[in-house]
Subunit: 347 residues, 4 copies
């Protein structure tokens, strides 16, 4: 990979070498279509092994689809899904979940650092129980969250407990699930089925694939006929091996975890550098691969002028994302530019 000057998004990064290698291998001959190939079997089995349970695994193209279809399988159009007000499914899916479910509403909960609390869930379930309001049937959690924080196993179990009380299914948006596993240093099962998660959408794209997410049903009843749902929704790849073979590349020798650890480490390096910078403050605790920092506007302008790309999040704080392809040199260059500005431009 060439030199990169961006912390804009972990989906600006390319395909990691191991995924590329597996794809090249899968390209050596013709293979059956629609997932009847050897790679898809192998990738699904690999995920079952990773999670150490007999879950149902489906591969779809992207995260919007993974989350929307998983949520649709958890309820009906007249049900609702409880999520944090900052959840990606609410703020950045252009109504994808509402579309796939034919009208289910998202009920917006709250909690510090982007994490939904059991209290907030309970409040949303109990404040209305009449038929004029959609009945909650699912809770959606993002792990890691949109602001780079993680739910601990204990927090997840507390949420499961409320979910049990009110017959709610638990969905996990795992756009950065790998980064959460790396940060928490737990076995993947500890923050999924052992903590009561029914369905996980495990993102490969942000972890080093071209595209392709695994929808993993730990609650196998919810997976009934899910392959038909994927097909109808335009999410069944004919040449599915080009999604599943790269997944094999990620799973072999835990490349997925190395990729996540690397991205987290780059973010930590960035965080530590920023912490030393006068006038810069962190908005949220940095736990995974993103740093959310309030940068003075002149500094932002200076950095952008130097060619750095990054987005500003709600409330104006800058979101700096690292990925498997971020280099420590890149972080150093960025911090050096900030130092330079601090020396020259600040009184």
């Amino acid at each position: 990979m060439s030199r990169s000057e961006q912390f804009a998004s972990d989906n600006y990064s390319g395909i990691c070498p191991q995924a590329w290698g597996a794809m090249a291998e899968a390209n050596r001959m013709d293979e059956p279509a629609y997932g009847e190939d050897q790679w898809t079997t192998r990738a699904a089995d690999g995920l079952r092994e990773l999670f150490d349970t007999d879950c149902e695994v489906f591969f779809v193209f992207n995260g919007t689809a993974a989350n929307s279809l998983a949520l649709a399988s958890m309820g009906q159009s007249f049900h609702s899904v409880i999520c944090h007000e900052l959840a990606h499914i609410e703020t950045d899916e252009c109504g994808g979940p509402e579309y796939a479910s034919n009208g289910a509403k998202l009920l917006l909960g709250t909690g510090a650092d982007g994490k939904l609390t059991p209290q907030s869930i309970e409040h949303l379930v109990t404040k209305r129980t009449d038929i004029h309001y959609p009945k909650p049937r699912a809770v959606s959690l993002t792990q890691a969250t949109e602001v780079g924080t993680v739910y601990t196993p204990e927090e997840l179990r507390a949420i499961r407990s409320v979910a049990d009380q009110y017959r709610l299914n638990v969905h996990m948006d795992g756009a950065r699930f790998a980064n959460a596993v790396a940060a928490l240093d737990v076995h993947p099962s500890e923050i999924t089925w052992k903590a009561g998660v029914d369905v996980l959408c495990f993102s490969g794209t942000k972890n080093g694939l071209a595209m392709g997410e695994a929808v993993i049903f730990f609650n196998r009843d919810l997976a009934e006929d899910f392959e038909w749902r994927c097909k109808q929704a335009g999410q069944l790849a004919s040449k599915m091996r080009y999604i599943s073979a790269p997944w094999c590349g990620l799973l072999k020798d835990n490349v997925w975890l190395d990729n996540a650890r690397h991205a987290n480490a780059c973010a930590e390096q960035l965080e530590q550098g920023l912490a030393r910078s006068p006038g810069v403050s962190l908005r949220y605790p940095r736990q995974v691969n993103g740093v959310f920092a309030d940068l003075p506007e002149p500094l932002q302008a200076f950095l952008r002028n130097k060619g750095w790309r990054f987005y500003n999040f709600i409330g104006g704080c800058s979101r700096l994302m690292c990925s498997w392809s971020t280099s420590t040199e890149q972080v150093d260059r960025f911090l050096a530019d900030i130092d330079h500005w601090n020396r020259n431009h600040r009184g």
Copy 2:
């Protein structure tokens, strides 16, 4: 590519070298997401140049999505789409168009060799005009058809004429559009916008990509806000360059056309061999990359036993598909096996 023993589907084939090369090139550095990269711009411009018109171009993941979303943009849930009774959107999309449109019905027309006739369209439009029946707003044509035949420019213009009379939009399912262009030996514009096609779904997957279809709006009014539709439906790739760069590979030096010509030529070779085989008859005229032949059941069993894979179509005839990766040696081996059977197993 290794030796292959299948005529099962053109989507059993892999990624062609030129598409692979472009993908490798696109993987050299980080790039902006969601289509804001250089490759997507280049691929869309390349298609505009190819069709010699200022059309709107969108890339989606697969054919189900391309067709379903294109049709949804042509009408409302209470409208209907006229298609041939053998059309893929009717027989093999698991209700994808009905889902994307939230309920539009497909009205099934007829015509010899899988081709919808103007008369059949007119009959379906005029037989019911009351509000208890969904109002036709679109015609969907498959070019080449599901049975390997092609609409001539004249036939398309005759259909456009009926469409104009009844205010119908014209959609073209181009799963094998490249093969149709190759077979007809016309400029792509002649069988699309110059013949009154409003929207074409041009398949890259069957032509040599891992995945990725271009939805091309010649009628630009119908494209209004289509990018939002793609996003909501889970059809906006974050790392879109991995769809668009391979398209660049196909477009450069007309690789797409060479791929199609090669596949058509293999099918012609197959057709000619089968024509010489006693007891074998062709069900439909062979015009593109598939041969539809009635093979005696013992012959089918013999071939399958030798390792050949192919599917039987409605009515029991065998569908033998060639692709860019089919080799003339493979066709020779297949025909030799048939000869062998003819010599030894037929009285």
Copy 3:
């Protein structure tokens, strides 16, 4: 009611006196909304008593909604519903079931006299089992059928047996259920839950109400949260008593059955008169309140010119419908006009 000159439809008729009386009674004072009134409780209890089982009962506005929502509760968007090719849900609901289910396809079966056969159902379930085709989850039967015939209890049980084999739910479109009960002279339970019907849409409109259908779930599991479905779909009446009180009027002293018997008797009188008329032939066996007869075109013109209204059905045969408000004098006048024409206009 004034003199009427129509056999166009049983929904051209008005509100029968007993329903009107109940509505007047319900209008004497304010009442709670959304079904929390005394009338709705009474009507639902009355239906449970009538069917002699503890079913779940919901009232909706019309038949399109009753059928569409009942079918939506039986499957998902990627499932399919098997029905006769003449079924109202296919031919006259403008895609209502596809809309309410967000895309479920109807698979069209066959059978003489508008009645689906077990063989036809089995054929549709078994001909495709791949994920490219929507999976059948329900059978929809119309009792009485669109061509005025009835399923016997034995026929229904044979269909239930196939349904059990393939895990299909059984829906009954009872637009003219009352007429079927009257014709078969059975207890309502014999052709519903005792014959394996999961959900019945029992029409009040055609039986003498202004509007209002009862959706009756004998399979109570399928009724889960159905009240939310009704609400979301715009089928929860705020002043629900104006639907339920008239139902009380129909249920008291079996007015519904008298109305149906009367309509059937008028149709029988019509049938017998037509049977004596030269040049007129019956298309289907007359079993309930409609006669399907091939009338010579000049006779049709003569009758219409005399002011009679009736519709022609597919294939050009005339559909002559009787209702609770049809009078024997009206039938006599119609037959007299035919006699007159026969005497004067036929060679």
Copy 4:
């Protein structure tokens, strides 16, 4: 009507005498179905005359349907609708608009006294313009609002001005439109098409009908094929005259306006009485037929114990609704009970 002890809802009231009379008249003979009767023509013409413009008029069963289908006709599934956070379509339709539109999100705006401000609309339109967020295409206003206030013609024109700037359609939820006209004492055109309203859902139910709302398109382009939409959605009444004839009863001699004035006057009487009551305060300015008052909890309990029914609104304030059937005696009795409590139960 009998004595009533409720201020729970204006839909607890029955059918007003003039609507009943028209319904009785409509019941005297058979009539064509699906709106081809004389009453439906007359009611639609009556509304055109009332609004003094050539609008398109459709009758549907209830308010959920009227609003949901009207909004669906204003945009696509990937668009959004801006409404006040207290809007009925957000808080009490169980996802009806999301369902009818197949996924359009509601964006929640703000403003004092339940009224959306132009600033709030502009903020919601401009804060996000990327494809990850649904594009606003409509503004929905409730006239009178959910808290009993009204938009003045000037306020409506200011909103239209923002709507024009951003290409938004303007929808008016007229559940209590009649009460707003009565309160503002303007010609109905002044707060609809002359102020830039594209579609009005004019409620008959709350004004004195059993059921039935008029969806009135002043912007006739938006009405294209709306009758098919109604049919598919289960909103086409077969015996439509039982909706339209009562509307004729309301329109003749401006009964609708008298009903609204009466309800407003009762609410005013209630408001004035409450204003004199110690410990009671009004939450919102009383402008139409509802009073929103903070009643001490012991007083609420006392009143409920005396048999009075009323609901508490968000924030715990009591909502006291009057209708055409509320009597001044009823208001007097209620106020007398409050006086009694004040004398005996307050220190």
